[in-house]
Symmetry: D2
Subunit: 359 residues, 4 copies
């Protein structure tokens, strides 16, 4: 239940206010150079408190590798990584101890499990995504070896849509904004919401280039379907599109089909998949995030006994989770593609014969 | 790779123009009344050739149960079901034998597996969804026992959006239209496309009522994430929304949060899940389907040798796959919920103790 | 629950007295020549009623492939196979309808599932192993491509142990006897038991030659552990040994360790695995089968209501299930090795790079 | 590959000479009292260096819980446990850096993964079993709630067989000896081997009492088959027997069948399973362990380049791994039974209805 993937598996653990969070990444081929500085740099992209657009909670998110790496190389055994929690202030949550925060998982966890870990989001906290980023970083190292690159950025904030798409710009933007011309307006939307003790949503565009033809396993482990699961499983995600997605619904077949030429596809409405298998084109996914449920306006809710209460949240929260969500979408896409690359290895009997030559 | 689910698993087989398609549904609890007439009626909803809005290919889609049922009850052993193909005309495909149809999986299957089953879509044909519907029908019988009902209908065709939602109307509509007032215009859009040798897309709204609180397994088998995978895995699906989905991106947190009252949630922007777990509200999913890729206009493509060719498709195809897709979304939702209901059984130690009483 | 394997998966269905039994084999690489005559010949080795050493129940066990093969080659999609039951005489079981046969699964199935499929063994019948043999035959075809051969034979019947091991002899022996000199005595033991309305047990020796180094996935999908599961899961199996097995327990470390020389291992006490991974030596497994529980002597049992009854079994049963079990052990070993060969493909990053060359 | 179980899953990590070993146990129902002192006491039973019958390597094996427990109760989220390595002396292995130790996994790991973690056994070290014991301890706490007790002891050492079986005695015996009368001779066999720089093997008897009828999932997750996998996967295991095991092969069916009486089974040749499902009787498993491969006599081997070498092992090793193996077999049995108990929860539709009552 806490494991993602089939051949490359990420199993995560940890609560936002427990001792530590972490993961075991299993299935990494032996001999991969494990660049620890790169893993940390990915975590730094996700860590909170970098700018005023984010939550004030500061976490170093220092990752420590406990196993699976020897003399700088993966050994083929499980790679365990741990991040100790250093800045948990459970006190912030004393006043919500017995309440359910609207838009949060408090209500469902309590009813499912019969108890309440009231310290922040507990297991359902977005803090857990740090473990995904750590695992995703190693998946990226694998993908780099076969020429696959993953990038992301925000293509919409509070309804303000990007019109140009510039992944290089997003890389250095505090907002991860894809459109340099819309960035200012998008930032203001976030800050305005923050000032109003409210929050905004947004959309992340994530893409993979250099993907070989053939990744994805029909019929129940399709590339697009698993990407949809991967993205929808990120906290606050509410919709996922592949390629043109919603827009393709409004086209005629004659407009939406990507013509095939000797030089490749003439267009990429499909977003790089056909029949659930990569077609060699750029993989394109859009993930829509709802506005952060943690807001500082009074809200109507109930307590564990079912009595109506007005909730006044304290603590430190992101006015727009989408910003820090971008790197998480990259991690999830990397995990999916690396898993698919491994699963795809036995697709032809000739490959099997090549790897087991008979003397 | 051809298995869906964890505790209730559906494994399907078969190609559109092979001998048969079918499935094994494993994990059905013993003692469930297996209503074969109901299973067949679900298949009848999906079968082609019922109206002029659909493909002319006629298939009886008669399902036969081979195992797992004794004296009308499930026995707890795997239920195998088979549907023999009776109306396959492989000849229809003679002229596309060496070509890749745009928008189809021909190209990716050929490159992945190194060979081409040119008889229709082969394994990637939407015909395979009959096996899902058969399995989903049994899942529905399970869900009925615990009070869960699943319904669906088209909320958009060729950009024409439903404004009223009437699931009872959809049940008897040839188009599965949710809005009786838009039905006429939507039908015309389909017929116009058909006449133009083109195709249109659309959106299916699927919902489950009566879902208990607690279904969904954090963090990597969340209810919403698995529904996203289930729906995106259906042929031609390009986007999936949970609850308000895309629209929630444009709201502020204060608008999007569902307030909690002693009587339940005051609204249902979330679509029935919080933190990946059902919250007792109606589960709402929208699945966006691209226009059918099989159109009868000339299209630019290449052959297996890479030479440019103009493709002139023949055969029988749906001008709008969404119509017959609706019942498939129901089947997938039923499979997901039944799986989740079983997985959820060991969530509390008290449940374990109740089922294993010590003398 | 009815699926075996991880990367190559066999899902079986069917009851001994239902319409059909069969399987879906998923994960077979594309391009494998599917020799249907070979598959049938393997089923013929297992089918009942060939000699007086076996049950009188006659089944043709004609296998039909429903999917996954096109123009004689595997397509990479699931291969469904079905065997229709033609000689089920449920009447034979009328007198045991409400009784539990000692040594059988009647008792446990009834208590687990709350109902009783009294027609023979139902799902727990050894008839199901025909589906394993069908799947195993295709696994053997895969293994043949990489130089692996599997053989088996009986090394013990009713306590009479083989002293010479001759797999070629076993191939043509009605008893699958490995030792031509003991065959006669072993046959007599079987016939004597038959005459006494009793049954005997025995031991099958199964081996694989040509296995490359490296198959087996530490730590929880070890080659020897999965072989143990595979063999112990066959009806009537009660013990499994790898290599010297029980005998190795009586040796000193200095005697039991296989010395390593530049030409390979100096001995093979280990039976071809070290640390759960194949070491290039012959894989050797012994499976111990109890005497057939179906005997025709009066036995003490109870009925469903818990009343004591004397059971007088009728019907047709093998006096020694081990004989027909040999080919089943081969099938299981083939499934395990083929699965392991596929899983092993991504063990080194260099292999991944080789299969995804960048232009 | 490093995950054991289906519904209750144990994923382990770590090498003998790395920073830490540990595990994630996922699927524990919420509300279970987590007795940390008990977990530590189980680890203490396994830890090395307690007596002169064991290796001189001393490890505290202090376990730390990182997640999944709140206010002393399991929360339903993954329980991560870590044990830091404190006494690793990699220097001990300097002289075997480029050699393959006979009977060890050095050879197979090197060939599979292409590199050599020469510090002790690396991942293949028996040290990893500490993680199993930690996970197994929590499984035992679960089982205790439903009345299941697991015990073990040595029923054979160096060929010296127990004649009386006394689990209470084993609990307090340094050797875990089941037979107080044979204990002395068995101890001497171990000490003699130690003095001779050699090692001995032995057999562990493990049993579970109080097991309800119905655990085990036919046909490919049978209780006996999974127990066989669980036990055979422990380092140095070479054979597994269920119930009478090998001995049942020598009986007639009329002797081996357990008669059924209104008061229960008249005997327990079967060892508590029928058709792969628990029958309410005591579960009995015997695991045969080979003599420790690490011996201090000169041994013939090769180095990585394939040159012949005489190996002179140094370091600290158990003369008889079976002693510390007993508690590991208990852990594995506990994990299997707890997993099966959870899987079994949805076996009847009535149970589903009971847990999801409709208002």
């Amino acid at each position: 239940m806490n494991t993602f993937g089939k051949r490359l598996t990420l199993t995560t653990f940890g609560e936002s206010h427990g001792k530590a969070i972490g993961c075991i990444l299993d299935g990494v081929p032996a001999g991969l150079k494990i660049d620890e500085a790169f893993i940390q740099s990915e975590l730094d992209r996700r860590k909170p408190g970098k700018t005023k657009l984010e939550t004030g909670r500061k976490e170093d998110d220092k990752v420590e590798i406990l196993s699976g790496v020897f003399e700088g190389l993966s050994t083929g055994t499980p790679i365990a990584m741990v991040i100790f929690n250093t800045n948990q202030k459970s006190k912030d949550y004393d006043n919500v101890k017995d309440l359910f925060r609207p838009g949060h998982a408090d209500f469902t966890y309590f009813h499912k499990y019969g108890l309440r870990d009231y310290r922040g989001g507990g297991r359902s906290s977005a803090r857990e995504t740090a473990a995904r980023v750590a695992g995703g970083a190693i998946a990226k190292l694998m993908l780099k070896e076969i020429g696959i690159t993953i990038q992301s950025g925000l293509c919409e904030v509070d309804g303000i849509k990007a019109e140009t798409i510039d992944f290089e710009h997003a890389k250095n933007s505090k907002l991860c904004a894809l459109d340099p011309h819309k960035e200012k307006a998008q930032e203001e939307a976030v800050l305005n919401a923050k000032e109003a003790h409210d929050s905004v949503g947004g959309v992340v565009l994530t893409r993979a280039t250099g993907v070989p033809i053939g990744l994805g396993e029909p019929l129940y482990y399709k590339l697009d379907a698993v990407l949809a699961e991967a993205m929808m499983g990120i906290n606050a995600a509410k919709a996922v599109e592949i390629g043109d997605g919603v827009a393709s619904t409004h086209l005629k077949g004659s407009q939406n089909n990507d013509a095939i030429t000797p030089q490749g596809f003439a267009s990429n409405h499909a977003g790089g998949t056909l029949g659930g298998i990569s077609n060699g084109n750029t993989i394109i996914v859009k993930t829509h995030f709802k506005p952060t449920p943690s807001i500082f306006q009074p809200q109507q809710t109930i307590d564990k006994a079912g009595n109506p209460v007005t909730l006044e949240l304290k603590g430190r929260h992101d006015p727009c989770v989408v910003i820090r969500g971008a790197v998480v979408t990259e991690a999830m896409m990397a995990l999916v593609l690396a898993d698919m690359a491994l699963l795809n290895m036995g697709r032809k009997i000739d490959h099997l014969k090549a790897l087991y030559p008979q003397n």
